[in-house]
C-alpha cells in the first residue's frame, strides 16, 4: 500500500534536507567518523601524521585535511584489519575482487546493514519502485554486495523479491514472465542479454511484464539505456556504489535522470585530479573520493574509488538537494569490469605466475560481441616451455585457463601465442586492449 512519502518518490525526508542543514549534519557526522576511525590503528597513525582529531573537525570542508585511503591500504590490512568495532559486533561480511588473488573484505554491523537497506530503498523509490511491485533480482548473491544489498533494500520498501541470482538466462525469462515481475535488477549488460534471450524465445519488446529496471555494477552508456528500454519496454535507472564505501546505494537516479543523487547525509564526495589530488571544479571529470559519515564497522576516510566522473550541484526538479554525479566514464587505474566482475591485470599476472613455466607476457583483450563481455588472454610461450607434445601444450593451456578462473572468478579464453608477438609500446608491455564502446 503506497504511503504519501512513496507517492512523492521521496523515501526519506533526508533526501530533501536544505543544503545548510545538511552541512551542519555532515560536519557533526564527520567529526564522529574521525573519532570512530581512531579505533583503527591504521587511521590513528594516519590521522596523527595529518595532525587531525575529531575536535579539529568544525565543518565539512575539514575533510580536506584527512588522509586518503586506497585499495592498497585495504589489501595491506587483509582480511579485516580496518575494523573500528569489536568482531562480536559484526553482522555481515562482503567482499570484492582484490588486485591479486585475495578479495578485499568489508564488514557491517547490524546498524550498517540497516543504514544500507535504507539507502538502497531511497534510489529504488526515486526510480519508481512501489510496495506492490514484484522485483526480479538477477545479481549474484554472495560476497558481491549487489545481490544482498538490493534484496534488503527492496524488502525495506515493502515490495516482493524474486531472488533469482545469476545464470541460466532462459529460466530467468521464464521466471519473469510466469511470476509477473514488474522490476528487473541486474547489470545493464545482463539486462540486454535477458532481452536477447527473450527475443530468441519469441517474445517481442514489451511482451514481458517488466516496467522498470535498476541497473548497476558496471559502467554503461546512454546508448545502452536506449537499447535496454526499447528491447524490454521499460524505464531504466542507473545506480552506483562500491563495496569499500557500502555497496549499491551510494547514489542513484531519479525520474529526471539528471545524474545520480549522492546520499550526502551518509557519504561526503569529492572529485579530484588523480595525479595531483587537487579538487577539480564541478562539471569536470575527476576521480571520485568518498568519506563515509555513518559507517560503524569499517568507516573509510577519503577512499579513492579510481572511478572517473563529474559532480553537478545545480538544482534538480525532483527536489532532492544533494550533489549529483555523472555516469562513471572511466577508471584512473587499470581495473576492468568483465561481466560485472572487477578484474585487475595483476590478477592475471598472479594466475600466470602460479602456472609454472609461463612468462608473464600477456595481453587481455575485452570485447562485447553480443550483449555480454568476452575476455581473451593471450599468453606468450616461453621457448623453454615448449616441447614436442600436443598433450603438454594442451595441459599448459588448461592450467592457465583454470588458474585465471580461480583467481578472477571469470572465465576467459586463453590463447597461447608465439614469443615476442604481443606488442610492447616503448619497451613497456601493453596489458589490456578494451574494444568495448564506452
Amino acid at each position: 500500500m503506497p504511503t504519501p512519502v512513496l507517492e512523492s518518490g521521496i523515501f526519506d525526508p533526508a533526501e530533501i534536507l536544505p543544503a545548510d542543514e545538511r552541512r551542519v549534519l555532515q560536519a557533526r557526522r564527520l567529526a564522529e567518523t574521525v573519532r570512530r576511525a581512531r579505533a583503527v590503528p591504521f587511521y590513528r597513525d594516519a590521522l596523527g601524521r595529518a595532525g587531525v582529531s575529531s575536535d579539529t573537525i568544525r565543518s565539512v570542508d575539514d575533510v580536506r585535511r584527512l588522509p586518503f585511503t586506497t585499495k592498497d591500504d585495504l589489501r595491506g590490512h587483509y582480511p579485516l584489519g580496518l575494523l573500528a568495532v569489536p568482531r562480536a559486533e559484526l553482522a555481515r561480511i562482503h567482499g570484492s575482487s582484490g588486485t591479486t588473488g585475495k578479495p578485499t573484505f568489508v564488514a557491517y554491523t547490524r546498524g550498517d546493514l540497516d543504514t544500507w537497506s535504507g539507502l538502497v530503498a531511497r534510489f529504488l523509490v526515486a526510480g519508481g519502485l512501489r510496495p506492490d511491485h514484484l522485483v526480479h533480482v538477477a545479481f549474484g548473491y554472495g560476497l558481491f554486495t549487489g545481490g544482498f544489498g538490493l534484496h534488503y533494500g527492496i524488502e525495506r520498501v515493502g515490495a516482493a523479491v524474486v531472488p533469482a541470482a545469476g545464470g541460466n538466462t532462459p529460466r530467468q525469462v521464464m521466471l519473469i514472465r510466469d511470476l509477473g515481475a514488474e522490476v528487473l535488477i541486474c547489470t545493464p549488460s545482463y539486462a540486454l542479454h535477458i532481452a536477447e534471450v527473450a527475443r530468441a524465445e519469441g517474445f517481442r519488446p514489451g511482451d514481458l511484464p517488466l516496467r522498470l529496471g535498476h541497473f548497476g555494477g558496471e559502467p554503461w552508456t546512454e546508448e545502452m539505456r536506449v537499447r535496454i528500454e526499447r528491447e524490454l519496454g521499460i524505464h531504466a535507472f542507473n545506480n552506483y556504489g562500491l563495496s569499500e564505501v557500502i555497496g549499491p546505494g551510494v547514489s542513484g537516479e531519479c525520474p529526471h535522470r539528471t545524474g545520480m543523487h549522492v546520499q550526502e547525509d551518509h557519504f561526503l564526495v569529492e572529485c579530484v585530479d588523480p595525479d595531483t589530488l587537487a579538487h577539480v571544479p564541478d562539471g569536470e571529470v575527476g576521480e571520485l573520493v568518498f568519506t563515509t559519515l555513518t559507517k560503524q564497522a569499517m568507516p573509510v576516510l577519503r577512499y579513492r574509488t579510481r572511478d572517473l566522473a563529474a559532480l553537478d550541484r545545480s538544482p534538480c526538479p525532483c527536489g532532492r538537494t544533494g550533489v549529483r554525479m555523472s555516469r562513471v566514464v572511466g577508471r584512473s587505474d587499470d581495473m576492468l569490469i568483465i561481466r560485472g566482475v572487477n578484474v585487475f591485470p595483476s590478477q592475471i599476472e598472479e594466475a600466470l605466475l602460479r602456472v609454472e613455466g609461463t612468462a608473464p607476457h600477456y595481453l587481455i583483450e575485452v570485447s562485447r560481441p553480443g550483449s555480454l563481455d568476452e575476455a581473451v588472454v593471450k599468453v606468450e610461450m616461453r621457448p623453454a616451455d615448449f616441447r614436442d607434445e600436443m598433450r603438454q601444450l594442451q595441459e599448459l593451456h588448461d592450467r592457465i585457463d583454470r588458474e585465471i578462473h580461480a583467481v578472477t572468478g571469470v572465465r576467459m579464453t586463453v590463447e597461447l601465442v608465439a614469443p615476442n608477438t604481443l606488442e610492447r609500446s616503448a619497451g613497456k608491455a601493453q596489458r589490456v586492449l578494451d574494444h568495448r564502446k564506452r
Binding site: M381, P383, F386, R387, D388, E389, M390, L393, Q394, H397, V414, E415, L416, V417, A418, P419, N420, T421
Partner: protein, 147 residues
C-alpha cells in the same frame, strides 16, 4: 640411428605456417619431410632437414619457438600388411608410438619409410633392431634424398 627432428610452435592463425617455411627457404634449407598437428588453438609443425643446427639457428633468430626431438626412421615393406607387420614387432617389443608420419620418398614395391616418435628412442631402437625391424640411419636417409 636417430634422426633429429625440429618441432615448431605455431599459433592457429593465417600466415603462421608460411612464415617458418619462408625463413628456411631464404636460408637455402630444404625441408625433406614435414607433418602438422593442430588443435583449435595452436599447432606443432614437425620437420626434418639435413642441417638441423643451422635450421634451428635461423628459425630462432626469426623468433620461432623450436624444439629438437629424436625420431626413428623405419623401412616398412611396400606391400599390403607391411606396416601392420612392423607395428606388430613394435607391440611385441613393448614400444609405444606417440606419433608417426611418412618420409617423402619410397622405393615402389620394395619399401616405404616412416618416421616414428617413440617413448624412449634409445631403448626402442635396440628393441626394434633385435626384433628385425629395419631402421634407417640419418646418413643413409639423407643420401637417399639427394640421390
Amino acid at each position: 640411428m636417430k634422426i633429429r627432428q625440429l618441432s615448431l610452435f605455431l599459433e592457429n592463425r593465417p600466415g603462421q605456417l608460411r612464415f617458418p617455411c619462408k625463413v628456411l627457404g631464404e636460408a637455402g634449407i630444404d625441408i625433406l619431410t614435414m607433418s602438422l598437428a593442430d588443435t583449435a588453438q595452436f599447432g606443432i609443425l614437425r620437420l626434418v632437414v639435413k642441417d638441423w643446427q643451422r635450421a634451428k639457428e635461423v628459425l630462432e633468430a626469426a623468433g620461432v619457438v623450436v624444439n629438437v626431438t629424436e625420431v626413428l626412421a623405419v623401412d616398412v615393406p611396400d606391400r599390403p600388411g607391411g606396416l601392420a607387420s612392423v607395428l606388430e614387432a613394435f607391440e611385441k617389443a613393448g614400444v609405444g608410438v606417440e606419433y608417426m608420419y611418412a618420409w617423402g620418398e619410397r622405393e615402389r614395391g620394395r619399401h616405404a619409410t616412416l618416421l616414428f616418435r617413440l617413448e624412449d628412442p634409445d631403448r626402442a631402437a635396440k628393441l626394434l633392431q633385435a626384433a628385425g625391424v629395419k631402421l634407417v640411419a640419418s646418413d643413409e636417409l639423407f643420401a637417399r634424398a639427394s640421390a
